[in-house]
């Protein structure tokens, strides 16, 4: 497949592997201590799987492969959530074929968010990955409306996601395994929001590097 996309996917895998222990320790504090392990298993499989795609594979097919692979290898809560996010992103990519890149990415992110919300029946303020992705989408769209170029929109999204992760420290979990903790979940950042923020940052780095070339 497309070597740029391969670079992006490998970068995501490397990042997740590098942060595996950290993500796991965040999950150990308020969940069951496997988020990093789950994500690492998934992204290692993704990096292998996409290499089997034909060179001419386009974005929707690639995103769908990522989604299916995550669904079939991650397990736990994050598997269906991230998997659905990528499947919905694939739908949007296909529907938005022909749009300029910045608008296309906006639709992809929105599709991913809606996928997570549908699958997890979660909304913001429940201490989940939604608390990173929803503000990121809002910020991205604001950038778009303001006519900012793609890299800037993405940087705004990342900043919002980081703030979202910080915000998860201040709230009590009401979805996912951390919800069993009640008030004891306060003060801890959500592992899923954290991994989501990492992925956005990788994407932003990648886009910046592409622009530079």
């Amino acid at each position: 497949m497309n070597t740029a996309m391969l670079t992006l996917i490998d970068a995501a895998k490397e990042k997740i592997l590098a942060q595996k222990e950290w993500l796991t320790s965040l999950d150990a504090a308020i969940g069951d201590g496997d988020h990093g392990i789950n994500m690492a298993r998934g992204f290692e499989a993704v990096a292998t799987k996409v290499r089997t795609l034909p060179p001419e594979a386009e974005l929707p097919a690639i995103l769908k492969t990522v989604g299916m692979t995550l669904i079939s290898t991650v397990g736990g809560a994050s598997g269906p959530l991230y998997g659905t996010a990528f499947l919905r992103a694939a739908d949007q990519a296909s529907k938005s074929a022909g749009l300029p890149a910045a608008a296309l990415l906006g639709n992809i992110l929105a599709g991913a968010l809606q996928g997570i919300k549908d699958r997890g029946k979660a909304t913001t303020g429940e201490k989940t990955m939604v608390d990173a992705l929803e503000p990121a989408c809002v910020a991205y769209d604001r950038g778009l409306t303001e006519g900012k170029p793609l890299p800037v929109c993405l940087e705004m999204a990342c900043e919002a996601a980081r703030q979202g992760v910080e915000y998860t420290k201040t709230i009590i979990a009401t979805k996912g395994r951390a919800s069993y903790l009640g008030e004891r979940s306060l003060g801890h950042q959500d592992p899923g929001a954290t991994s989501l923020c990492l992925l956005l940052e990788i994407l932003s780095d990648f886009v910046n590097r592409q622009e530079v070339k």
Binding site: N38, G76, A77, S179, L181
Partner: protein, 331 residues
Amino acid sequence: MKKIINVPEEVVQDMLQGITAAHPQYVKQVEGTSVLVRAVKPENKVALVSGGGSGHEPAHGGFVGKGMLDGAVAGAVFTSPTPDQVYEAVKAVDTGKGVLLIIKNYTGDVMNFEMAAEMAQADGIQVEKVIVNDDVAVENSTWTIGRRGIAGTILVHKLTGAKAEAGADLAEVKRIAEKTIANVRSFGIALSSCTVPAAGKPSFTLADNEVEVGMGIHGEPGTHRETLRTADETATYLVDKILQDMPVKAGEEVAVLINGLGGTPAMELYIVNKKVSEILKDQGIKTVKTYVGNYMTSLEMAGFSISLLKLDSELKELLLATADTPALVQI
């Protein structure tokens, strides 16, 4: 990490092969999956599929057999299985009379099993699901995602399996599963942590004389920590909490499950049962059957849970029906 394993990445497959090698008369593995199904597929009966993360052995593969499950799906250790695996299980066990998924109430398990159900339904397989939520530890979580599913799940397998074995249709089998779930409550404590092979270090630590009350079966924190009390005090505390949540009147009948988490010796489980049986007797509650042992474990965690299942004549008959599985044989 001191474990009798080969490599952490292969514990689930090694274990599944060890199970089928030990019990070929009961179970076989669906090739290329982490699914165990009955060695001989029954004909024309509603099929039951359960599963979850590994590390809870003998749950769930040990309960595949006559009178209990038709298929069990094993996820990575403490991580719910993926939808494609559950889907493989559903396809393998369906006889045309439909499949009931017995899911423990964890976000991950629920989502993965639901996705599998959608996949199977798209193939035209009738799939229903029930969600077990017997853990009374997290009292006030009902307004969030509800209680967790723990050891009471085994009793759901037992009774629902008996109903399916008796030839009931999918709706009836599901009704029994839901009725059992409505009448089963569990509560446990942990005395020590366990180590997930892929993590390589204990999930948490407890001080020398400290216990975690209401510990989840994946090492999720419970309600609070306290100093270990005597067996009698602990049993009394746990049974009281269960009965507060699900009152049982004098004259009513129950089944009892004293479930070891993996690292607690049978001696201690029986010492707990002594007190539990006394409390129930004192309250005029009749114990119809008691299970004591490691049924739903958390690897090598020390600790136990108590489950009570309130019975009426219908549930009682299903409880006492025969079962023939690797981990539970009942004549």
